[in-house]
Symmetry: C3
Subunit: 328 residues, 3 copies
């Protein structure tokens, strides 16, 4: 498994410093790369690792040309991180081994499901009645696609994903819960990636919608009727409650929760572990998370926090005392 | 797929305004329903959507009769949301297509498992030794029921559910962990619904118990020895730690965490993303969650929060200064 | 299913008070044990349950000998909880029923995977190309082990676990996300237990590493390139973001989140639902979690919290007023 530098820049572009015949046997981080491995530097904070790196070739930005001119080789490009991303894809495509069967015989697929001729269905997947998979879409092992759910083209669904389980809908009646049948489905656009064991529920009446280019990490819960705008990305363990409407080009940090029936505008960034309790109508970064502290300090502060509104009243009262004193 | 209004009120009751021969082809929300669809209005905040709604029929409460009298048709009922729930069930039962096999041949079922004659076991489920499924219970695809676990009647378990994995029990010994075998099982009552990829662990010595009518959303973790009282509902991503005892008729919001060995009384409502750190003995709503803010504001407030107990001391000191001033 | 007390102390040690011929039919907690069951007392707070317990035999520490001398029987040992752990294992091994096939025929295993001769692969597992399972390792049902991932010896992976899904890596480009192929794998040491539906992603370039003796509960997300040190334990629903490095002998409470690229020292204990937002270099217990309160109190305090830094400024201003007053 190896690629010549000349072949890499031939395919991906960039300006090569050094011999095109140098053979690279792998990709590695700056700190651990050895002389037959290619690495990259995209963030200034890792700049100090460059001089000591044993990497045979380093992908760097135009501003770094001076700092790599004495190295064995380097690739100069406008966006080293993007170049690196493309190199991983080139690497993988060059070194792909014989694939298994396109539709694994262990998958259970309803006869009415419509699967594009080049879609891949991994072992032990379940595709229910009327479901559809677009061209080039890949289901890894043990993915379930529920009745009438649609997955677009070039999607990648990792193991254990569940698309189209019932949304969580019940009407209270005399202290018990009466089920609301979930009559909608899930519609997923093109170029969507969905992480392991993530769940996207079917809509109650209309469809739950995931637009083109959305990227969802592992163990995410998307409730019924949710709408996620295109190119939005969510990190692991996020929960989005029913009927929330999340804009395009948003990011949601790991473990964050978005409550139901809220609207989040385009280009909103939610920090990890934050809870969105109201609609957000302006782009920007939003956070709500108790800062970590030593347990001893936390205990003191948390105890005081429960009296915070009273503390405010005491400040007010002090201010009014002082005001009276001044006036007298 | 369609139903006449006369047939709907014939089955579900309610008072019909308009022709019983009107044919409805689906259910839809007020805003998007067209003239052959039936909709409902249960919450006052959606009242303003009624006049513009194109819905062919609207289910409303008795107090709304005046506002629908000029519409093509309407159904008047005491509880429109409950009526809607029942209509979704009627709709689904009327339009159910040929079902697959009752016990899917791809399911792996131990010969000692006891499965009620009308229970349904979906594709690629695993039912281990001595497990039991009650009458009318449905397992969707890829559900695992562990050894000796019991699921009652009329339950619905969605894809990826795991019942009866080992509880998380280890004894510390010389810096390592020695496993405590989990000798209990899981007992689930009747009319329980369990969401996709949710896990309920087996008890250490006795059983983990989920009582009748409990509804659990997706990606919930229920630890060993937990007891969840009847008709309690939990939203997605909730975690309940071992040996917690949760009452009946409770609700737990999405992403909330209940710590171990705690007791939560009946009729307690935990807000989303809140952490239950102590037993709750009185009914009511409980919350603990950092309010969301712009990241810039959050940073200022979070930094101050770490000095909160010192701020309290400073207020105290100011108060005592003022007291001294007054006395002098 | 039963064991004589003599046989128990013969195998596990400890000093028996009472007849070695007493037959025990099970293990049970102090409160519910009956006269043919064996129980244990390891925590002082349960001491008050001892006198009323009907247990036929109680495992207690050396300091408790006086309090059990009038009981039917007891086992005296240095560490009753550890003794209990070992008894559960003895019990399970004595009462194990005929096992199923070692490699379940429904499992889908690539021909290049290397599986130790006494490893157990449960129903409907998927083991991809080049993956390895060490001696004595057990996969319960529906576990996926991705390409080239390595699981050590004597590991136990519960149902629904996904090892080696792609890490969540994308390069932003013109408002869209370009995939970074994840070229690393997952390396799991010996004696690791992994809970149901937990996910461990493969590394981007190098491997994600879980060291010996780590215990992970259910529904945990471990991002790419993470390193978890030996004998660290994490409770359910924890999320560890990419490239975090967690030390040895740590514990992480349920629902906690560790952000990416952070370092956590050995012997650090993170409380449940806390968010680790910075590296932790000293052992100790760390917490950050909004304390639970009645919703009404919470609303008042949370509203004030959003003005906390202004409150601090007002206190400062009051202090400076008082200082001026004193000086005048």
């Amino acid at each position: 498994m190896s690629l010549k530098l000349g072949s890499i820049v031939g395919t991906l572009g960039g300006r090569l410093l050094g011999s095109p015949d140098l053979l690279m046997t792998g990709l590695a981080p700056l700190q651990s790369a050895h002389s037959h491995q290619i690495s990259f530097l995209s963030q200034p904070r890792y700049r100090s690792q460059l001089p000591a790196s044993q990497a045979g070739c380093v992908i760097v930005g135009v501003d770094m040309e001076d700092e790599v001119k004495d190295r064995l080789s380097a690739i100069i490009t406008d966006d080293p991180y993007l170049y690196f991303a493309r190199l991983t894809r080139l690497w993988k495509s060059e070194h792909r081994q014989t694939a298994g069967p396109r539709i694994h015989p262990s998958a259970v697929i309803d006869s009415t499901a419509v699967i594009a001729s080049d879609a891949v269905v991994g072992p032990l997947c379940v595709i229910e009645r009327g479901a559809q998979l677009g061209a080039g879409t890949v289901l890894k092992s043990r993915v379930s696609i529920g009745e009438d759910c649609i997955v677009g083209a070039r999607c990648l669904l990792h193991s254990g994903v569940v698309i189209g389980a019932d949304g969580f809908g019940f009407a209270p009646h005399q202290g018990q819960w009466e089920k609301i049948e979930q009559l909608g489905a899930v519609r997923i656009g093109d170029d969507v990636e969905i992480g392991a064991n993530t769940c996207i529920d079917r809509g109650a009446l209309e469809d739950t919608v995931i637009e083109d280019g959305v990227k969802l990490d592992n163990l995410i819960q998307i409730g019924h009727n949710v709408h996620v705008g295109r190119h939005t990305a969510m990190a692991g363990c996020v929960g989005v409650a029913g009927s929330a409407r999340i804009g395009a080009h948003c990011t949601v940090g790991g473990g964050a929760v978005v409550l139901g029936h809220l609207t989040v505008a385009d280009h909103v960034h939610i920090s990890a572990a934050s809870v969105v309790t109201r609609s957000i109508l302006k782009p920007g970064q939003y956070t709500g998370m108790f800062p970590l502290d030593s347990n001893a300090n936390w205990e003191k502060n948390a105890a005081t926090l429960k009296q915070l509104s009273r503390l405010r009243d005491r400040i007010k009262s002090l201010e009014s005392d002082n005001q009276n004193n001044k006036e007298n």
